[in-house]
């Protein structure tokens, strides 16, 4: 029997999507009517979800029209399902139509949305409000939390004491006393799995009163002790030295020798000197304490034996202790409020009825733990038998543990399940992705005999040259990376090699002989040797970029010459800022110096920031001014951009607080006129009118950006109270998340981060920034959660910042593991970047010349440089293509120009942008006592007559009228005592016999029914009674008698007479006071 659990390891370009779709179709076509309902396909992103859905529909559509037994997919399906082509076609059509008409059951989804659906069924149990929201913006939540905690200081003496100590500590460190930033930085961890995984221990330890305070004191005391001790050691050392009549320079190495470390003991910052590996190996022997032939040999030997030797020998262990305490102390202050944060978060969630996106996994993990029957899933009416999970290498521990019971359950009934992934492409560790699951753990969780493991190792994506290049590159790169790990003075444990053992891919037969085999160009430039992670990080980036960016327009033109369309080209970057720089530069080039026939359009979901456009800035300036009309700076900001849009030169007149250039006078007046009216508008309208006021649409200025801005307003309005001040605050927090949207099929170059590029492919890949720091330091250094037992034996977990001093501490293992994984992250990133290309790769990286002979392998730029510059070649290419003079690696030739470039005509979008004031065109219906002028007057004078009139006109009887009255009252049009007044009036009216007779249930009456005239005009007296012998027409009136009243009724009577040919009588009935006039 076939093994039901398929575990596919799929290297880049190996047709993973194809495999998934095929498996899906195999399952779905088994039962074309309902089969799809039993399958859940899990993708990594929403976008992938959509693509997979479309792909499935497309394949089914194709199959339902035509089955080609020679195509591999068709063949596989025919075989698997044991069908004839005709049968397959029929099934495909059935399946397609079943899906289209049972679309709600077509389950392709991300893990998150699937879990959210599950969680929703727990709403009542969790006492979440029926309409709870899933909150995505954890930053915002954190901000709220921290503010709330700080506010609690006034009531909570404990917290107060702690925070004040924290603030002081910050001051001592020369940092701001405002501790909120620090708490926020660490506080992010409360949403992370890496912390949550430890929370049991965490909770237990912090549950003990005063635990952290004690712990803090313990650490401080220990540090003090070490410090004091080392200071006394320093004295002791000096005494020994003096006794022997020595200077520290007399020892081996002189003024740069190890002995200079003795007087540095006891320095409050670094009390224990650090020894190099070499020193540690040698210095236990006094032989190495003096240079050969030193006249002071004997004294030095004596000093060694008198205690210096032992003193020095104790340093490593003491340093380790010191570093351990240092590491523990580092985040302790912020950590101290973790408990408060968590408690506060609970309250916040409870009050606001929100569920955090990070809670979802969390909760399911807890609830599914050790439960065999995943019956919680049954709550959502789980109907799935098959699970197909994509990008499995990025699944988190929690996600897996929540999913596992489902899988196990399915497997137990022999259903097919599929996991696809590639450890080499695991680049989401920072988000909780755990590649070990795919690497080894799953196999231990699931019974062996159920697993069918396959390696998809043919690369269908790239040209042979690219495949071979990558094969060789990634066969060698792990070893170079490992050398980098060794530079951290540790062994590499070969995790890289393990992850990359299957890296070599095969070239599919068909492509072997294609004339064009691919193009590779890797260029390096040398950068100043400054240490990465220094203070001026940003600046460094900018400087480092200049060189590459300038090369890009040229490259893009050459590619266009080569016949590539813009959408064939993608720029891969590491960070969004880099993408934004490229986008800016290319757009700038297009604007200012583009040559005829070349285009530089870019498309990016991450880099085209809306906020950069002057049009948007102009609108924002105006809105900011509206939110506070005293804000002169905002007003001037507005004018400045307004001037920029219209080419009015900026000048002193423009900025001076009491003047404006003449060209703007008219607009200013207009502004003053409109201001008040604008402020009353709903936000969306306000923005639209502001845009129109500025004239951006007529001017066709930055329309995509302006649209993007409007969309942002719409998004805001949907979720929030729509006021201007609130919006501006929101915008400030979110502007860096909003980018311009362009349809995918638009012919433009893509700019995207390597992370987002996963799963995508492009003909040409340009990676301009292949240099980054492998192990992040400074503010980017990750937090590691370290289990730790205090002196009192309390088990807890402490957040440590990954930093060098950890290496020599009790946490060295943790430190080293992180280094190794960081290297793997970088290796994977490079793998993803290099394997996106189908035909051509352009890579650019910086490197630095080592100070010593050993090149530092701590940046990817250096690792790559080291690899390429030391004779990198690949298969079939014995001649190295490394050009040492140019610092480039170059391989492959483009074929003769494929085709003439056809300069694309830019379609001007056919859209209407102009604003139109509609408020006068929209007429609203009026009712008695509404807020129209008459309505208000009636209300003011408590004129209930109009209401009575409205009621009578639509009623058949007194009870009808009372019913209607009740309905209007329920609507809230007036309050109950008015209603009872009306009721009294009505009843009084019905005491009149004549009136009563008009509402006699015995007679046939027409209510709200009048006479229809040709063309649609209607004549509607309030009441028409049709008897056997005669008809009666009645019209009720409020207010004073008027001549036209009887005339009107007469008109009605005539019409009625024409229709029934019986005598008709007519009445005008005045309601206040009651008076009946016969016509």
């Amino acid at each position: 029997m076939a093994r039901p659990f398929l575990l596919y390891k799929s290297s880049a370009g190996s047709g993973k999507t194809y495999t998934l779709i095929l498996e899906y179709l195999k399952l779905a076509l088994q039962d074309p009517k309902a089969g799809f309902k039993g399958i859940l396909a899990v993708t990594f992103t929403n976008k992938a979800t959509q693509e997979m859905k479309e792909r499935i529909l497309k394949e089914l559509g194709r199959l339902s029209k035509e089955v080609k037994p020679e195509e591999s997919m068709d063949q596989a399906l025919l075989q698997h399902l044991k069908l004839t082509p005709e049968q397959l076609m029929e099934r495909a059509e059935q399946a397609l139509r079943s899906i289209l008409h049972g679309y709600g059951h077509f389950s392709v989804s991300t893990i998150d949305s699937f879990f959210q659906k599950v969680i929703r069924s727990f709403a009542r149990e969790l006492d979440l409000q029926a309409k709870f929201d899933v909150e995505m913006d954890t930053d915002n939540v954190l901000e709220l939390l921290v503010d709330r905690i700080v506010e609690k200081v006034a009531e909570d003496p404990h917290l107060r004491q702690w925070l004040i100590a924290y603030a002081e500590h910050q001051l001592l460190d020369g940092k701001s006393w405002d501790i909120r930033g620090g708490i926020k930085d660490l506080g992010k961890e409360i949403f992370q799995e890496r912390f949550k995984a430890h929370r049991r221990v965490f909770q237990e330890s912090v549950a003990q009163v005063g635990f952290l305070l004690d712990f803090k004191q313990e650490i401080q005391a220990a540090k003090n002790r070490i410090l004091a001790e080392s200071q006394s050691k320093r004295q002791e050392a000096e005494q020994i030295r003096l006794r022997q009549g020595l200077n520290w320079e007399d020892f081996k190495g002189g003024s740069k020798g190890f002995a200079m470390k003795f007087p540095r003991q006891g320095n409050p910052k670094n009390p224990i000197p650090e020894l190099t590996k070499k020193m540690m190996e040698e210095l236990h022997d006094p032989l190495h304490w003096f240079s050969k032939g030193s006249p002071q040999e004997n004294q030095i030997r004596a000093a060694f034996h008198e205690g210096l030797g032992a003193m020095l020998a104790a340093w490593p262990s003491q340093l380790k202790l010191w570093n351990t305490y240092l590491a523990l102390q580092k985040n302790l202050n912020a950590f101290g409020v973790f408990k408060n944060l968590i408690l506060e978060l609970r309250d916040l969630k409870d009050e606001e009825g929100i569920l955090l996106i990070s809670d979802v996994n969390d909760f399911l993990t807890e609830i599914t733990k050790d439960n065999e029957a995943p019956f919680i899933y049954e709550k959502i009416g789980n109907q799935y038998q098959h699970f197909l999970i994509d990008e499995f290498q990025d699944t988190s521990e929690f996600q897996w543990s929540s999913f596992k019971p489902l899988l196990e359950n399915s497997l137990a009934s022999g259903h097919t399940n599929l996991l696809v992934g590639d450890v080499k492409q695991s680049i989401y560790r920072w988000r909780g992705g755990k590649l070990e699951l795919l690497l080894s753990e799953v196999q231990t969780h699931i019974q062996d005999e159920l697993i069918e493991q396959r390696n998809l190792d043919v690369n269908y994506r790239s040209l042979p040259g690219i495949i071979r290049f990558n094969n060789t590159l990634f066969e060698h790169l792990p070893a170079f990376m490992q050398r980098g790990i060794e530079q951290y003075a540790m062994d590499h444990q070969s995790i890289l090699a393990q992850a990359f053992q299957d890296v070599v891919q095969r070239v599919p037969g068909g492509k072997l002989d294609s004339p064009f085999q691919g193009k590779i160009h890797i260029a390096f430039s040398e950068k100043n040797n400054s240490t990465p992670g220094a203070e001026d990080e940003e600046l460094e980036e900018e400087e480092a970029d200049l060189g590459v960016i300038e090369k890009l327009p040229d490259l893009v033109m050459r590619l266009q010459d080569q016949g590539y369309a813009l959408k064939d080209i993608a720029f891969l970057v590491q960070k969004n800022v880099q993408g934004a720089m490229i986008a800016d530069a290319l757009m700038e080039y297009q604007r200012t110096q583009a040559q005829e026939g070349y285009r530089f359009d870019v498309l990016s979901e991450e880099s085209l920031f809306i906020d950069k456009s002057i049009a948007v800035k102009c609108v924002l300036g105006l809105l900011t001014y509206f939110s506070n009309t005293a804000d002169k700076v905002a007003l001037k900001t507005f004018w400045q951009y307004y001037a920029l849009v219209y080419g009015i030169p900026v000048s002193h007149k423009l900025f001076h607080h009491r003047s404006l250039p003449v060209e703007l006078f008219e607009k200013q007046e207009e502004l003053q006129c409109k201001q008040a009216a604008l402020l009353q508008l709903p936000l969306l309208e306000l923005v639209e009118q502001a845009i129109s006021f500025i004239g951006l649409t007529e001017h066709r200025q930055d329309l995509a950006h302006v649209s993007g801005f409007k969309e942002a307003v719409l998004d805001f309005v949907k979720k929030n109270r729509a006021d201007l001040r609130g919006f501006l605050e929101w915008w400030d927090r979110n502007k860096l998340k909003r980018t311009v949207r362009i349809p995918e099929d638009h012919d433009a170059m893509r700019i995207l981060t390597i992370h987002k590029a996963k799963g995508l492919q492009f003909k040409v890949v340009i990676a301009p920034y292949l240099d980054w720091e492998i192990v992040p330091t400074g503010t980017k250094a990750p937090i590691l959660w370290a289990p730790f037992a205090t002196a009192q034996g309390i088990e807890t977990v402490i957040p440590l910042t990954h930093q060098k001093s950890m290496k020599q501490s009790n946490f060295s293992e943790l430190y080293e593991k992180e280094v190794r994984l960081a290297y793997l992250d970088s290796l994977n990133m490079l793998y993803v970047a290099f394997t996106r290309a189908e035909e051509a790769i352009y890579g650019f990286a910086n490197y630095s010349i080592p100070k010593s002979n050993v090149p530092s392998l701590k940046t990817t730029g250096n690792v790559l440089y080291e690899l390429f510059s030391t004779g990198f070649t690949f298969e079939d290419q014995p001649n190295s293509s490394w050009n040492p003079g140019m610092n480039t690696f170059d391989w492959g030739e483009f074929p003769e120009k494929k085709r003439e470039r056809t300069p694309q005509v830019q379609l001007e979008a056919n859209l209407r942008w102009e604003y139109q004031d509609w408020s006068q065109k929209l007429k609203t219906k009026s009712h008695a006592w509404d807020f129209s002028e008459e309505g208000l007057r009636a209300r003011e004078q408590r004129d209930v007559g109009v209401i009575v009139h409205e009621l009578l006109a639509s009623s058949e009887s007194l009870s009808d009228a009372l019913l209607l009255l009740q309905k209007f009252t329920f609507e809230g049009r007036w309050v109950e005592d008015i209603a009872s007044e009306i009721a009294t009036q009505l009843k009084r009216l019905f005491e009149n016999n004549q009136v009563k007779s008009w509402f006699d249930p015995e007679s046939f009456s027409l209510t709200e029914q009048g006479i229809l005239l040709p063309g649609g005009m209607q004549k509607r007296p309030d009441r028409i009674l049709l008897g056997k012998e005669e008809a009666v027409v009645i019209d009720f009136k409020t207010g004073a008698k008027k001549e036209e009243h009887p005339r009107q009724v007469k008109e009605y009577m005539d019409l009625v007479k024409d229709l029934i040919h019986l005598p008709v009588s007519g009445f005008v009935c005045y309601l206040q006071p009651l008076e009946i006039v016969e016509v």
């Binding site: 929403n46 289209l100 679309y103 009542r124 006492d127 506010e151 107060r160 004040i164 603030a167 001051l171 006393w177 929370r199 049991r200 609970r346 439960n371 600046l539 604007r591 950069k612 800035k617 009309t629 804000d631 905002a634 001037k636 900001t637 900026v650 002193h652 900025f655 402020l679 009353q680 709903p682 639209e688 930055d702 329309l703 649209s707 969309e711 942002a712 309005v717 109270r721 006021d723 349809p743 995918e744 001007e908 056919n910 859209l911 209407r912 102009e914 509609w918 408020s919 065109k921 007429k923 609203t924 807020f931 129209s932 019913l963 049009r973 309050v975 027409l1006 029914q1009 229809l1012 040709p1014």
Partner: protein, 942 residues
């Protein structure tokens, strides 16, 4: 194109029936209006109008009752709930559950389900599920630590939770009885009642026709069947063979069932019309990136419409009401009439925000010593709204100014309230039971006094109605409700509230929601937002009854919902001659949007063409660098710094010079263009405030007694001062926040921390002074001035400089000029010239400032023989053991300003000459880091 309703009207006219004896029942009112209109178009002489009503009207009439409004019902439901549930939750927590329960009751009744049975089953299911025994205690407590609600999952709570499910059946029973006594009712109840008594209904006077229905509830089915069978009523369908005959097509789900029904089956037309199948050429699909862009496309499509065509033959369908305004905004000019039939969310109207702000005002209002105070933020929020601003713009600005300059955290009533008008109405303190009257009175006032258009009046009216409802209910419940509760409830209710737009339905371009389009036909249909999740809307039945149970008892589930939506979609295709379906490809940031299943269906089954993809041009103009030239006007401003006839008009301050060195343009904005950076009431402590408080605190401690010019302090004096530090800080705080004597000073959490830190810092200064031994304070916060001669085009001129020196003292024969710093300042000075070197990233601004003070002192006291030493108390270093007050150059202390005076003054002169040099422009700094905290960074686009 002949609309279905017109066709029906015609067949009625043709049948020669007595129109006044006819009762036409339609799914909604709008259909009725159109029906009558069409009839009018068809006749040649006056006729009786047939009676046109909705099915609801018919049922309510038969029941002799109309349903009570939802709010009342939920409140009644809650009251009932409280009677049978022990320890019930508060009403505002209950509210949403109440809505759900009510909805379920409605469903149960509409579908004539056996209520008791359903709820018994439900309770059983829940008791199985709620058995949290599958969680270990440990797990449970762990979850509880992160989830407050889970804490309530202890046994007692669990029992309560279960009880919730158990009481539902009883709740239903009790609720029926309660409504009966109260004279209330809800819709489903009336339907059930009529359906169950159908047999006893009297024969109607008029002939009844049911037109254009799709899905009936069980109750409707029963009633209508009865009408057909017993009263000969007629049933007219609006169907198409395309979905009726295809058993998979969800749009035909109900029809296929009814066709098999022995009563309904006979009512179907024969042959079944077949209009959709050949529509493919007339259907156009458009894909567009953003949702709002759809409005631009709609505008364009209408623009292309030929001029002579009647507007009312076009409909725009908006599944998402948020698109309404964008669509209206981009209509072509020539569209003169339009009719909107849909709801617009109240919470998007400024009115809602205003009311909410009023409630916030009341929530934070306080009475102290019989005086009323409002919290500044709530006041400022309110003043920003047009309503108050309009009434008295000048006075308004004044109030704002007053609040900001005085840093009034608590604004006294008399500062804002006025004798009459809106200000008087708004700024009063209202007891919680009067809060709704307060809002209502303000609304009425606005309706009367405030000029506004119909739409806005409509907002007001709707808000007013809702408030009235709340008022009535609270009143009748005799509830003494807290303000918070009312605020919560207000938000809950208004957030859900939709403003009905009701126009003249028969004229102009038609814009409507999906459901409003029922029964109507248009020549041209423009359908927006044809995206999954929008149309059809996201799945999700709001019900407390699980799906399997619903299904078992014949209550509608998702499948039925899908069918109804699909029918509304396909029905619009019946007769249309041109259909545009628009969907957006990019949704909310980061989320992909999927095109609607209907589009897939159209493509596969009707061979409609692929979407035409619309794109937006992406050219973009970024801000460009600019500079300001020193024109005459600018020079005029600058020459104000020149001393004229010995008088100075303006003086350069240390911060002005520092600013100039940081960024010339910034200096220009601040000092030449005089754009004041905006002021805010600070409740949190920003670095500026922190500095101010520090200075004030020190001034209090070392104050020179009145009438004296100096004060000597020695170790003992300072020892006595140390205990007073806290008081000095408090005093500084009181002054800053204008808290009068006797009034309580309430500190926010952040202030508590800040004030402690401040006290520590002051103590450190004092301790340092104490350890250093005695000294003589000769000036605190003293204004100083000096002049410098510079070379200008017009010869040598004098320029004035000035500033306030934090502290001057004399110690051991040295004059010390000291500054207190709370930032990151250090004392390392590279060189004197580095102080003027804008390129120097480590340029020491604090040193520049103290040097300037030294210069002032030197200038003002030419007689002085003592060394002058500038120094800084900087918070960053003061706690260090080896703290040293004085500036350092080349690792040695600067001993006497006079040693460097010449160089410094030369630098100063050059700097000022540069500022006044007409040839040099004010340009932007190249170092973008300097822009981070610049008030003008928006202008610069940095």
């Amino acid at each position: 194109m002949i609309p279905f309703l017109k066709e029906t009207a015609k067949s009625l006219l043709d049948s020669g029936r007595e129109l006044n004896r006819l009762r036409v029942v339609l799914p909604n009112r709008r259909a009725g209006l159109f029906f009558t209109k069409y009839m009018g178009e068809l006749i040649e002489q006056p006729v009786w109008m047939p009676e046109v009503i909705t099915i609801e009207q018919l049922v309510y009439e038969l029941a002799g009752k109309t349903p009570t409004d939802d709010l009342t019902l939920i409140f009644e439901l809650y009251e009932q709930y409280c009677q049978i549930q022990k320890e019930p939750e508060s009403f505002d927590r209950f509210y949403h559950w109440g809505e759900l329960i009510l909805k379920d009751f409605n469903d149960l009744d509409q579908f004539l389900a056996p209520v008791a049975q359903v709820y018994t089953h439900l309770a059983e299911i829940k008791s199985l599920e709620t058995d949290l025994s599958y969680l270990s205690d440990e797990q449970r407590s762990l979850i509880a630590q992160f989830w407050k609600a889970f804490e309530r999952q202890n046994e007692r709570e669990q029992e309560r939770f279960l009880r919730f499910w158990q009481v539902l059946g009883k709740l239903y029973e009790g609720f029926q009885a309660r409504l009966h006594t109260g004279g209330f009712s809800y819709s489903g109840q009336l339907y059930r009642q009529v359906a169950q008594q159908a047999q006893e209904l009297p024969v109607p006077e008029k002939e009844v026709l049911f037109i254009g229905f799709n899905a009936f509830t069980q109750a409707e089915e029963k009633i209508i069947s009865h009408f057909i069978q017993s009263f000969g009523a007629q049933l007219i369908w609006d169907v198409d063979a395309y979905y009726l005959e295809d058993s998979m097509q969800e749009a035909g789900l109900f029809f296929r069932q009814y066709r098999k029904d022995k009563i309904f089956g006979k009512t179907f037309p024969s042959p079944i019309p077949n209009q959709i199948r050949n529509k493919s050429g007339k259907v156009h699909i458009h894909a567009i990136p953003l949702k709002t862009n759809q409005a631009n496309l709609v505008g364009q499509l209408l623009e292309e419409q030929s001029v002579g065509e009647a507007l009312e033959e076009t409909v725009i369908i908006l599944p998402d009401e948020h698109l309404l305004f964008p669509v209206l905004d981009h209509l072509p000019e020539r569209i003169t009439d339009l009719n909107v039939t849909m709801g617009y969310p109240m919470r998007n109207a400024p009115m809602y925000a205003f009311l909410d702000a009023l409630l916030e005002l009341q929530k934070h209002a306080k009475v102290k010593d019989e005086k009323i105070f409002f919290y500044h933020k709530t006041v400022l929020d309110l003043l920003a709204y047009a309503y108050l601003n309009e009434e008295d713009p000048l006075g308004n600005a004044e109030v704002i100014e007053k609040i900001k300059t005085n840093n009034l955290i608590e604004v006294p009533q008399e500062a804002v309230a006025k004798e009459s008008g809106l200000f008087a109405l708004v700024f009063q303190k209202i007891p919680s039971q009067g809060i709704l009257d307060y809002l209502a009175s303000i609304i009425t006032f606005l309706a009367k006094e405030f000029p506004q258009n119909d739409t806005q009046k409509n907002y007001l009216f709707q808000a007013f109605k809702q408030l009235n409802r709340m008022k009535e209910i609270f009143h009748s419940q005799n509830a003494n409700l807290t303000l918070d509760f009312q605020l919560n409830l207000f938000r809950k209710l208004f957030r859900e509230l939709k403003l009905p737009f009701e126009g003249e339905p028969l004229r102009g371009l038609q814009i409507m929601g999906v459901l409003e389009s029922r029964n109507l036909d248009f020549k041209r249909v423009i359908f927006c937002d044809v995206n999954e999740g929008s149309f059809p809307p996201a799945a999700g039945m709001n019900s407390m009854i699980p799906m399997n149970l619903r299904k078992a008892f014949g209550l509608p589930v998702q499948e039925q919902n899908d069918a109804i939506y699909a029918y509304t979609f396909y029905r619009l295709l019946h007769r249309a001659e041109e259909v545009h379906l628009i969907y957006s490809t990019a949704g909310e940031q980061g989320k992909a949007t999927e095109m609607s299943r209907y589009l897939h269906q159209l493509r596969v089954e009707l061979q409609v063409n692929e979407a035409n993809s619309v794109w937006i041009p992406v050219q973009m103009t970024p801000p460009s660098a600019f500079s300001i030239e020193k024109t005459e006007a600018v020079m005029d401003k600058l020459t104000q710094y020149l001393v004229k006839e010995g008088e100075e008009v303006k003086t350069f301050s240390a911060s002005a010079l520092n600013m100039y060195l940081d960024c010339r343009l910034r200096f220009y904005f601040r000092y030449v263009a005089q754009l004041k950076e905006k002021e805010e009431v600070v409740t949190y402590i920003d670095p500026m405030t922190f500095g101010t408080l520090l200075h004030r605190g020190m001034e209090h401690l070392y104050a020179i007694p009145e009438g004296r010019t100096y004060r000597d302090l020695d170790k003992k004096d300072i020892e006595q001062l140390i205990p007073q530090v806290q008081a000095a800080v408090t005093l500084a705080l009181r002054e800053f926040y204008k808290v009068e004597e006797g009034e309580e000073l309430r500190l926010s959490g952040q202030l508590v921390i800040a004030s402690e830190v401040l006290a520590k810092y002051l103590e450190a200064i004092l301790t340092y002074d104490k350890n250093q031994g005695k000294f003589r304070v000769i000036g605190l916060e003293e204004e100083c001035k000096a002049k410098v001669s510079i070379q200008t085009a017009k010869g040598i001129k004098e320029v004035a400089l000035g500033g306030v020196i934090d502290r001057m003292d004399i110690k051991e024969g040295v004059v010390r000029l000291l500054d207190y710093k709370t930032g990151k300042d250090t004392k390392v000075v590279g060189s004197i010239s580095s102080l003027f070197d804008r390129e120097d990233k480590k340029r020491n601004k604090a040193a520049m400032q103290t040097f300037l003070y030294a210069f002032f002192y030197h200038y003002m006291h030419p007689e002085n023989q003592l060394p002058i030493k500038p120094g800084i108390f900087n918070i960053k270093e003061i706690y260090a053991e080896d703290f040293n007050l004085f500036l350092q150059m080349d690792k040695t202390e600067i001993l006497d300003y006079r040693d460097h005076a010449a160089e410094f003054e030369e630098g100063l002169r050059k700097l000022i000459e540069e500022i006044l040099n007409p040839d040099l422009v004010f340009d932007q700094t190249l170092d973008k880091k300097k822009c981070t905290y610049c008030a003008y960074k928006e202008i610069c686009g940095r």
